[in-house]
Symmetry: D2
Subunit: 368 residues, 4 copies
């Protein structure tokens, strides 16, 4: 079980606290067993106000009582020095500088922004997949002079990438390398933040393009599913080249990205649909083994019904912390195809950062 | 130009006239240059009523004046003997028997139903692709005893199949056989007819399964893109095996199916994206060459903008008679990928039957 | 506090258990402090199956574990004799006969159906308004021969009526009779059950008519807000005639009815907006005083923000057991106008029946 | 018939040509019998570009060929001196200054913006109601020194006001003054322009507030339905005080505002529903009498079906130039209630300006 005593509380800070992901951090942490929201950071415009006045709250549950009157700070490290963990839901245009400054102030940053995902010293961690990549943190700290004692940055992946890599990781563990993978996404509007997608653009419509999304999916998948070379570099799945091709679309759905996935295994003959279903169900990632409180019971929940998963019915299952898979069947072109559903705001964003922090605590990387 | 004199009118009948596809037939034929709606057929419940009382009209334009008070008949051939062409928008559960009876009564039936699509003597014709398959009609007539003089059945394809095969046909004409093709569809609710999809099932949701749809797409594509063997049989693309893999989903869109398509050519090296765009733009099918009045100016309209085609903005272009393609780009797994938009109720249904009939007239297969 | 010992469990049955309202009963009762779902009734088609196979489950939470394998019975009293309370989510076309048979079998029925709402001996109870009407139960029992000992029928109101009468009751308590009331409803699709509204009818649309709904609102309001005459008859607000005019529309929203309400008080001068807000906030109905576990903390929650309540943001507040009011302001024609939001499936349906049963237990009308 | 010779063309300019209303002006004028789009004005950012590059075109029909490459100008009068009519679809924040400058340059401006609606010398004209108010133009011109010869500003009303006042005007003409009127609106998202309403705010939701909208409806109605005092001032319906109370909501509909309306006549006894229906059908405003080409055949189309009008089915009837009314029935509080549908972008915006200009030409107020 997780190495946090039952009565121990861990102070956390939230950057970008008034934004879409920031709000979800606050909602998810409201009844966390040991994380306590201690400091909130947002733009200068919000700083100095109580949270309830600074935020345009869009969650279905009301603002947690303990947070309503918490003062919002600017995103400067000085206000977060008492936080053992800092979660960042910052927009990409400011995340780079601010997260860098927080790390330099020896703070542990778990970021949902894309700014550091391609940094060769920053792990890109989907908590149900590659928490082993936390092993590069000492090296990341040593790059600073003087070396950092506690500070680092860990990023989590793009929401669509997260949905796909969890079953892919399960299948690679069971059947060896995947050779190629084709994905079409049907992404929810909440993935674009607020105000995000104008209603006139997406009502009664599909937008068959999301800027940069396909490139992210094709690249991030390699970093996440790859290993760590002896010199500490991410090997980008080098041992067995993996080709990923994504087509990303936006659909009129509030929350929950649906993805159709087809893949070809290196191994011949490939496993059949029932073997794939069994392997997905048998998959237990490290975050679950460690007993992380925000980790789902089923990393991958496999549906038997033909018409599942569906975003509206399945996105809140396990508080959106797992991934749902359905319609596992043979593919006439590659080997196997199936449908994935991922809650883009939970495991696709805030929940990933939270579980990553729980694992980092369990492994002693975050020092309490 | 089409072999119908400017002042010649052609009487047509419509079966299933009160249904979704039947209504679209009526709306589309309202200002047709030579087809005149002469007889309407529907279920016993509607028979005997003027059309405006029998129908639950759901089109945005009002019922054409000439049709409002037309009497609805039962679907018996006796009421349609003056019709040179009979369009069928019947539901699959009754289409088989009724359409068979109409053919036996020596009537020319152009059907949107699936009942005869797999019949080895009935052509399955997407009018922007394989009107050459009308050549099997004499053989179909000869199977009856005594042989039919005028009667036959021609079917058109499933709406999703239609969207995919038009660009595929254009590319095979330009670059030779396609070896494999992967398609994910995002299908509109109007594809399910009325009452069709309950709103509680599809609001804020995606349903990742449409019964029988993937099988139809994978099979129909072979019949349509294939040739005719010397013995008159459909060869199902036998010369160069073509593998098709489809994943079909329903999305909250009223009209217009979006499809992500990826394909691999037999020819190596394959054509690049610009060659593909050029070939799609250069494609002129026989229906266009013949000057069919319901055929589109562009069989395939190729968008340059990154975020097109979109169903709401592009589904009515060319009265929904063409197919829109966008985002032609390289695929990291197969060769080329792109996005297709097809108006499922127009070229994906009623417009296909209408153009098929126009071509059959132009070729003298329908006898006026 | 409620007169049910902490460790006492009360067996309940659910009629129409596979329908929309039946599913909501099951979801809401999953963690009830003393009600235990003991028997499920549905149509012959479902009877004999375990619940998970009989139902087409549409709730966001999975079927409660204790219910998944519970056997579904036909709706015959013999299977429900151990149930102290029977909740009915039956469709109106069968509810009359079945609920009558259950009452005749001396069972206590709390019905969401409309069949008995206009019965002069059956109370129509909105639990946040007129639980005092339970006083007619002895009379209802006495009409049978021999008189019933435990059996009776209590109905709850139409969902839209429920939303309006709660604030009206609060205002009549504070300021005396309301003279006239005008209501426009914007009703969610879930109010029509499943399959209910076809998506083609309501996507990108408003339907300005719901059959029978306006009549129900105008009539039920009088029965609910009225008193009991000395002879035990419902007086239909006779002392001070109340005129209600409703205009009901269906809008593309999943859950939560929005209503614009304007009203004129008998008292001159009428109270102003701030007095109205204060009175709504001060309103504590009997169900709350009795400590019913399913009653909300705030019978009426009053929003200060200009743009609230909104169905998506506010329908789940207090588990949908209260009513939200916003935009209380002067009306240029009547006295006061405001906006009401009611969760049509919770306090507008299943939650009402449940609280009614809790009150009936608290008052000793249901005999345990 | 309209005093424009068949072969005479009238040059028009469009201000705010790239915005939502500007695009609709261009789409509507594409096949106008005598208006020719001659000059386009937009913000500095767009000026100097061909229209197709400056605009983010959101209409379902493609950009008219003649407009695609028309150069966009800044909104300075110098570029519009050849235009006999200038239509303004400018945003309110810039409309005041720009429209004033155009009038000062002796140009005839027909504005959809709100800036001058409350100006005591500018008529607020709903073309199906009060074109008689054009009589104040000479006075408006005379206020300038030296007096203007051709220039003036005419505004049209808010989209929701427009929908309500057309039937109100018809009923006042038939039955004399209306005493009070209550309106609830269900407004489409296109009323907010682009980007306008964020999808996260309105998906699966109703927003019960639109800033300033209720005030506009309550005030504009008085100016439009009122007369002109002997001194040339608008009398605001002074002879018979009219009280209007509006409740405005936003619903998830793309185009077409639905309004529930209830009203009380001064005359006792009031007319019944059938008389009201007859009066609405009999109403022929001046714009129709004059034969304005953009005026609808039916100023008010009255539906008999219980469930009409509906925005999706009825908003494009008569090219959105008329108003639809349905469900005319008695009101239990006031006299009569009914449902109105108005196309907010056509007769509720661009079409109003266009018909106003047609009337002004017919009356010789615009000098060609």
């Amino acid at each position: 079980m997780l190495r946090v005593p039952a009565d121990r509380k861990v102070n956390v800070g939230i950057l970008g606290a008034t934004g879409t992901v920031g709000q979800r951090f606050i909602a998810l942490l409201a009844d966390h067993p040991f994380f306590v929201v201690h400091a909130l950071g947002a733009s200068e415009r919000s700083a100095g106000k109580p949270y309830r006045k600074a935020v345009n709250w869009k969650q279905t549950d009301p603002i947690p009582t303990a947070i309503r009157d918490l003062l919002v700070h600017p995103c400067s490290p000085q206000f977060f020095l008492d936080c053992a963990v800092v979660f960042s839901g910052l927009d990409a245009d400011v995340a780079g500088d601010i997260e860098g400054a927080f790390r330099a102030a020896d703070l542990a940053v778990f970021s949902n922004a894309k700014s550091y995902r391609r940094d060769p010293h920053v792990p890109l961690i989907v908590p149900l997949v590659n928490t082993s990549h936390l092993s590069v943190i000492p090296q990341q700290r040593s790059l600073h002079s003087p070396p950092l004692e506690k500070g680092f940055i860990v990023t989590n992946a793009n929401c669509s990438t997260t949905g796909a890599v969890v079953p892919l990781a399960a299948l690679e563990r069971a059947f060896g390398p995947i050779e190629s993978c084709m994905i079409t996404t049907l992404q929810a509007i909440s993935g674009a933040g607020y105000p995000g997608v104008p209603s006139l653009d997406i009502f009664d419509n599909v937008v068959p393009h999301i800027s940069g999304e396909e490139e992210k999916m094709e690249w991030e998948t390699l970093k996440i599913l790859g290993g760590i070379a002896p010199d500490g570099a991410f090997d980008m799945h080098a041992a067995a080249p993996l080709r990923v091709s994504a087509a990303c679309t936006r659909v009129p759905v509030l929350e929950g990205h649906t993805e159709t996935v087809a893949l070809r295994f290196a191994r011949r003959p490939p496993p059949g649909p029932q073997q794939v279903r069994d392997a997905l169900r048998a998959y237990v990632p490290e975050a679950c083994e460690l007993g992380c409180p925000s980790a789902p019971e089923h990393a991958v929940y496999v549906h038997e019904e033909d018409d599942r998963p569906q975003p509206r019915l399945d996105r809140n299952f396990q508080r959106g912390a797992g991934v749902s898979v359905g319609r596992v069947r043979e593919c006439g072109v590659l080997d196997i195809k199936f449908v994935v559903l991922v809650n883009n705001v939970n495991i696709g964003a805030a929940t990933s950062s939270i579980i990553n922090a729980e694992v980092a605590i369990a492994k002693g990387i975050v020092q309490l």
